[in-house]
């Protein structure tokens, strides 16, 4: 029965896959069959059958491990000795982690702002033009690509060859520098700008999301509002500032906060492009390093908890803003 847990050939892999799906269908089917009696089964049994599997999985696989992680974060490297908040003080005050925290802050501030700004501008620019569909698709497509793939795409753009006669640059960005007469740069190695070049990748991915949501919001602005504003003499900057932006404000808040939360958890880009070297480390990747490379259980748990705690203010801001906009309505 070894192939059940360590399928090695393609045939075995698909066999295990179909077995898993069949097993799942049988179990779920059995549960539903048992409660499928309109009158006799009490309502709470039916509710348990429908919502039970999901709640059970979430409790076992998300809530419980999260609580264990919080618990572990107060213990030492091996999880034997209780050390209070030492892991947290080490992360928050230790010099080693200072650049990790700073970099994470830069990511969480710049990525949402840049993606939303570009997405908004682009959505306004292509709105109702002849090429709208194509234009949107071009910016939209990076969303389908994995962050690993996107990182490789951009690593190739940043590729550096030493500046010697007879050596051609193969990275587009360095070639552009050479064309305008500047020396080629090691974009991913030279700190502190290298963090910005990593951020570009995330912005490249997230702009499509911002554009899609904001474009839908712009299209939903009622014509009569725009019309009335025009009659009042609003044009250009003022129209954008006083009509477009306030009307789509809820969408803007959602886009900004969604991207911010997503950015906080990103580790693929840093891991693939620099491996966290050259002062580019962020919390999410440092967590992975501490958990699975350094095997420092307490510290990695503390980093995971910090990641979670950092999400909370963003969510609160989101909820508050949405409440406010609902009140106005």
């Amino acid at each position: 029965m070894g192939w059940l847990t360590s399928a090695s050939t393609t045939g075995e892999k698909f066999a295990v896959m179909f077995l898993a799906i069949a097993l799942f269908v049988v179990v779920m089917g059995a549960i539903l069959f048992l409660v499928d009696r309109p009158k006799r089964v009490p309502r709470w049994v039916v509710a348990t059958a429908f919502a039970g599997p999901a709640l059970l999985l979430l409790a076992w696989g998300l809530v419980r491990p999260a609580l264990i992680t919080v618990w572990n974060s107060f213990f030492d490297k091996r999880g034997n000795e209780f050390i209070g908040v030492d892991n947290y003080t080490r992360v928050l005050t230790g010099g080693q982690f200072q650049s990790v925290l700073t970099n994470t802050a830069i990511w969480v501030i710049l990525v949402p702002i840049a993606s939303t700004l570009i997405g908004l501008v682009y959505a306004v620019l292509v709105d109702r033009t002849r090429f709208e569909k194509l234009a949107k698709a071009l910016v939209f497509v990076p969303m389908a690509i994995s962050m690993v793939g996107a990182s490789i795409i951009w690593k190739f753009v940043y590729e550096f060859k030493p500046d010697q006669p007879g050596v051609n640059q193969t990275g587009l960005l360095n070639q552009v520098l050479v064309w305008v007469g500047l020396p080629p740069q090691q974009f991913l190695i030279n700190s502190p700008l290298n963090t910005l070049f990593l951020i570009v990748v995330m912005v490249w991915i997230q702009t499509g999301f911002a554009m899609t949501v904001l474009s839908a919001a712009i299209k939903a602005i009622p014509d009569d509002i725009v019309e009335a504003a025009r009659l009042d003499g609003l044009h250009g900057i003022k129209m954008f500032r006083f009509i477009t932006v306030p009307t789509i404000r809820p969408a803007l808040v959602v886009v900004l906060t969604t991207i911010a939360i997503g950015t906080l958890k990103v580790f693929d880009i840093v891991r693939t492009m620099t491996g966290g070297q050259f002062d580019t480390q962020v919390i999410a990747n440092e967590f992975y390093t501490q958990a699975f490379r350094q095997n420092n259980q307490g510290l990695s748990a503390a980093l995971a908890v910090i990641l979670f705690v950092l999400v909370i203010p963003i969510v609160i801001y989101n909820v508050r803003q949405l409440r406010k906009s609902e009140e106005i309505r």
């Binding site: 309109p38 919502a51 491990p65 999260a66 306004v124 033009t129 070639q175 490249w204 899609t212 129209m239």
Partner: protein, 322 residues
């Protein structure tokens, strides 16, 4: 900073101004079509707006084009010159193209991505089917079965959406090791299913709530139980919602690195992990790396482009309503 396409902020109002301009003061009542025509005309006649839009579009496309072109060039050419030189080479016949890189990436002893391609499929299909099914049932319960604690539980599930996976990884991995199933597909499926549930329940619940309650009431009057109502009344109406979340989850699982890296072993790891590994160990071998990157991207790209409509709908339902 040349790649950061931060457009000057002044350009936005300018673009809007161009739209507003053709509005003659005397003509108040315009049909939507006319307005649209005016807007279109206004947009295209403003060179700054068009230029900016084109610049953004190019910046968003060029990096991918570069990688795609490179993946078809011979190894030596990739080392010697930039991919943009092939366009000049097309005219004098100096550009060469080859499928060798793909052959090497898929079957070469160092890369062998064909194995991991299979793994990605084996991981993704159950990891999409299972959470959708479980979430459909749960969202039905939250929407149409009146039980105690329903609202609190739903808010709890909703809140779980923002919990970073990182907090769950280490304890889960320890459980899998204790059960003796670590590294198998089972752990990857289970983990992906659990992590996908909060968003799935939230999204499907949003769609499920939009279905008129009179339909459900009518079925109830006819004596149908919850199971029958779920399968015969709601499920057919939910196909677009299922498609929307299905694409979400598919892209998420196929493109995921964290879960694959943590739970899969060398025998079960997905493409993303293999390609990321390649980028680390053979970072200079752009011929295999470019081909490998595109092998990992082709399936999500096809799915995404084919089912874009549903994806956008899911995106809007998930973000704007939330």
């Amino acid at each position: 900073m040349t790649t950061t396409p931060l457009p000057p902020t002044g350009a936005v109002p300018q673009a809007v101004e161009e739209v507003a301009e053709p509005q003659a003061p005397g003509r108040r009542r315009l049909s939507r079509l006319e307005k649209r025509a005016i807007a279109t005309k206004g947009k295209l006649s403003s060179p700054w707006a068009s230029a900016l839009a084109i610049i953004i579009a190019i910046l968003w496309t060029l990096p991918s084009v570069g990688l795609l072109v490179t993946s078809f060039r011979p190894e030596l050419d990739i080392r010697r010159s930039g991919w943009w030189t092939v366009f000049a080479g097309l005219f004098n016949g100096e550009s060469e193209f080859t499928l060798d890189n793909y052959d090497q990436a898929l079957y070469g002893s160092g890369a062998n991505l064909s194995t991991y391609f299979v793994n990605s499929f084996v991981i993704t299909i159950p990891a999409v089917v299972i959470p959708i099914t479980i979430a459909l049932l749960a969202s039905y319960a939250f929407a149409w079965i009146d039980f105690r604690g329903r609202n609190i539980l739903f808010v709890a599930v909703f809140a779980l959406q923002v919990v970073p996976l990182q907090v769950a990884l280490v304890p889960l991995l320890r459980d899998y090791v204790n059960l003796g199933v670590e590294g198998s597909f089972w752990t990857v499926w289970l983990s992906h299913s659990i992590f996908g549930l909060p968003l799935a329940i939230f999204l499907l619940h949003n769609f499920m709530k939009d279905i008129p309650s009179s339909l459900v009431e009518a079925a109830r009057v006819d004596g149908a139980g919850h199971v029958k109502i779920f399968f015969q009344v709601l499920l057919p109406l939910l196909v677009p919602a299922i498609a929307a979340f299905g694409i979400f989850q598919f892209l998420w699982v196929w493109n995921d690195l964290l879960v694959g890296l943590t739970f899969a072993n060398t025998g079960s790891r997905p493409l993303t992990v293999a390609v990321a590994e390649m980028a680390g160990s053979r970072g200079g071998d752009w011929h295999v790396l470019t081909a490998g990157a595109f092998i990992s991207m082709i399936v999500p790209l096809v799915v995404f482009i084919a089912l874009q409509r549903y994806f956008v709908r899911g995106l809007l339902a998930g973000s704007v309503k939330g």
